[in-house]
Symmetry: C2
């Protein structure tokens, strides 16, 4: 048997070198975030004896750090969508998911999810997650109340609006304030225990165990200072998060995220992805990541314009905050400003989360330009052109929708400081193991790796393109495709 | 033994399933481009019996499609650099290579190369590659003559000029016209045969053969419709190019390159990288690629400015053409123009290679703006601000050097059409297997994979960042680090 000091997630243990199994189950799930919880739940409920190993001392994973929003719709709409007047067709959800998936979108996952998203919502409620039937029309990140339905993507913004009929699809649980992810995970964790899943905390996955035919037979887990060989009769599911906390992997695969100073993760050290790759699993979209500086609410700020270090606009500002931020990160230079006039800025207070402050204020844009030490006629030319067309309700350069267009001509003016190295640009990774919608991990030749499953950010799921990410997509993917994986493992031949 | 139909570069063959060796050598080299040629040469000259397998029917690989430029310098300069008045310090070459390597630069390779680049030049000449001692100061892609030394990177441009003292380092062989890569490969191929390397054409690597300790023991090769098991006593060197011709891999790893319509490759199907990954080799920088629309000469065009679909500038135009093109590819929208006035455009003819044509012409920039259907005061504001500062010899927005600055104020004006979907934007990949400077392939834990080596674009070498690529870097890397790999294999314990 391999001694612990030699174990690496990137080097599988050959079955023949395992002399003794310390533990045994039908399904072995790694990670107790949303994906792991749902995988374990469905596996156990389908009759599989299930062990769930979690590296930390509690449930939740990075899912518990989230707002708890889940991206849901289709089939004519959830009760909240219908009550708010949105008849969300399945094809519109599907088309949005495909557009949001970018150049390597996973049409099969988008199809399955769009067709079954409403059912999934009912399942979530059946687990005990409560939702109010309410809708917030105003732009926000998460409700500060316990309201439910919000706009959480770029559905109404160019170019997505040309590809699918928009609807709000972010569903937040009945939980007052931010942090609904913890609430959701607490509910799911209770169900996991009730379902009879054997949960082991402080237990870190060390290496997969494979036989000569490359079938995954188990996994070595370190618990209490000891390495234990765990046999998985039906399969191992890797639900161990992404790799944003592994700065070497970020440097190697998605260096753009190095610009973001706030990686969002718990473990997320890439070990799940590495375990999968160690037996031939293909890792895809490893260069993609999510980032955001949550620059609204208030929604009136969307009427302002973003400019880069050259005083140029770079995107239609009515996109999802994460898409705008992703573009901000791609700009040359570290300085990003959000320009507002008295009427757009005065409408509400900036929230503190984003660490955005006023960078300059003045009675003319020329004054702001000088204060920001920008070359003469850079920012002012940008504003002049924007204003000229905004007065006509047009944005020929970046296609911001008419409802957000108004000339920024009411002094005083402000430039909100959205510097990349100063504000709260958070990030997580979107690349991971290539999987079928069933959670089965694929190799480079698109063959299934027997006995191996992945879900959540260890897999490359619905959210897989930084420019297309929308809030709630990662939890939607983790919960829904975790469930698929759990059922598939339980149905596998032992 | 695995039957051919089941062989995949992503699935190694266990040693114990190999019942018979059809062939045997100390060193087995895959691919007859520059990297494979130099690996085989040094291995054979160091006493290793060497077989080189090439998938096509001739030598050259993608190296033979190149201009034959090699990026050389340091140690006070090559004879050509010295004659042209450039005293190229080793530290300047090193610093440039590190800056050009981007966020995941390989300092160890940059160090070894900078220290030994001049010696490498002497070695190249000793192989029979001839060089004239001549220098072309004018911006060019490759000399149309048989001249040698050219500026082939962004050495004089911001921000590189702030990081290393500039020198021209592109060395082109004594070969009249473009296409010196074929000449260089013909010379090297002769040396390979003279050195006693056993060259086998029409022979495609199918899968690596590994033992239980993960040591590479050989490789399965398909020759003449038959799969042959080839034992490698000392090592296998993967020199099979990158993956730009494998559009699925491009989609999964470097989707930006999908925008370029002209992939440059021969085989370059990613099989070399996949073979390495199949035994645990780490692939890094897979999201990086080179692209260029070779928009100069004439050099006077550098005095013009590039604008995107929004009429905005996006880079200092005095960078290397590939860096400018890389930024062009990253812009929102497909339309890219290069603006020129009568004095900057009149200086020479556009070469046909780039497929750049005149998109608009007029006596005022407002006329050009209208002709291009750009919003009023978009392009004109860009030009006005540029001109105002250019008159003072300044470019506060993008830091183009003073020698390239002049107001674009002499009519008639032209907008050269550099549309991404229309012009010759060529590309190749820069990500590959992580290796030591010796060519030894590393796994995710930075351990050497015994018996496995890689060089050229199958490895992630000196050129590894699209924004920093400079002409001649890939051949420099392939030839120099191919040599290191060849010597290391020959010295390995059988």
């Amino acid at each position: 048997m391999s001694s612990e000091s030699h174990l690496s997630p990137s080097q599988p243990i050959p079955l023949h070198s395992v002399s003794h199994w310390h533990d045994e189950a039908d399904a072995v799930v790694i990670g107790f975030g949303a994906a792991g919880a749902c995988t374990a739940l469905e596996a156990a409920r389908s009759g599989a004896r299930t062990i769930l190993f979690e590296a930390t001392s509690g449930s939740g994973g990075t899912s518990a750090l989230s707002g708890g929003e889940i991206y849901l719709g289709g089939s004519g709409g959830t009760p909240m969508q219908r009550a708010a007047g949105f008849d969300d067709a399945t094809e519109d959800l599907y088309n949005y998911l495909v557009a949001a998936g970018g150049p390597n979108a996973d049409a099969a996952k988008a199809r399955l999810y769009a067709d079954n998203s409403l059912d999934h919502f009912h399942w979530l409620m059946a687990q005990g997650i409560e939702y109010r039937n309410s809708y917030i029309a105003e732009r926000c990140i998460e409700p500060s109340t316990d309201d439910c339905l919000i706009w959480s993507g770029s559905e109404e913004a160019w170019p997505f609006v040309t590809q699918a009929k928009p609807a709000p699809r972010g569903h937040c649980p009945k939980f007052v304030g931010m942090g609904g992810g913890r609430y959701i995970m607490d509910v799911l964790a209770k169900r996991v225990v009730e379902a009879g899943v054997d949960v082991r905390y402080d237990s870190r996955a060390m290496a997969l165990i494979v036989d000569d035919s490359r079938r995954v037979r188990g996994i070595a887990v370190r618990t209490g200072g000891e390495v234990r060989m765990v046999r998985a009769r039906r399969g191992v599911a890797l639900c161990a998060g992404g790799f944003v906390m592994n700065r070497e992997m970020v440097t190697r695969h998605v260096p753009l995220l190095l610009r973001s100073r706030f990686p969002i993760g718990t473990v997320d050290d890439g070990s799940g992805i590495r375990l999968g790759m160690s037996v031939g699993g293909a890792a895809v979209n490893m260069g993609e990541g999510f980032t955001t500086v949550p620059w609204y609410p208030p929604g009136s700020l969307v009427k302002g314009i973003f400019v880069n270090s050259q005083g140029q606009r770079f995107i239609n500002e009515d996109c999802y905050h994460g898409r705008v931020s992703h573009y901000a990160l791609q700009q040359t230079g570290d300085r990003i400003w959000l320009l507002q006039d008295n009427s757009t800025y005065g409408a509400g207070e900036l929230h503190g989360l984003a660490r955005i402050e006023i960078g300059a204020a003045g009675d003319s844009w020329a004054e702001i330009e000088r204060e920001l030490a920008l070359p003469e006629n850079s920012l002012t030319a940008t504003v002049a052109t924007y204003n000229r067309y905004a007065a006509e309700g047009k944005d020929p350069l970046f296609h911001k929708a008419a409802k957000w267009l108004k000339p920024l001509d009411e002094p005083p003016f402000v430039a909100l400081d959205c510097r990349i190295d100063h504000c709260f640009y958070s990030s997580f990774t979107l690349g991971g193991l290539d999987t079928l919608p069933t959670g089965e991990v694929l190799d480079e030749d698109h063959n299934v790796i027997a006995g191996l499953y992945a879900a959540g950010r260890t897999a490359c799921g619905l959210p897989r393109w930084g420019e297309g990410y929308s809030s709630g997509m990662s939890l939607a993917d983790a919960t829904f495709f975790g469930r698929q994986a759990g059922r598939r493992i339980a149905a596998a031949v032992a």
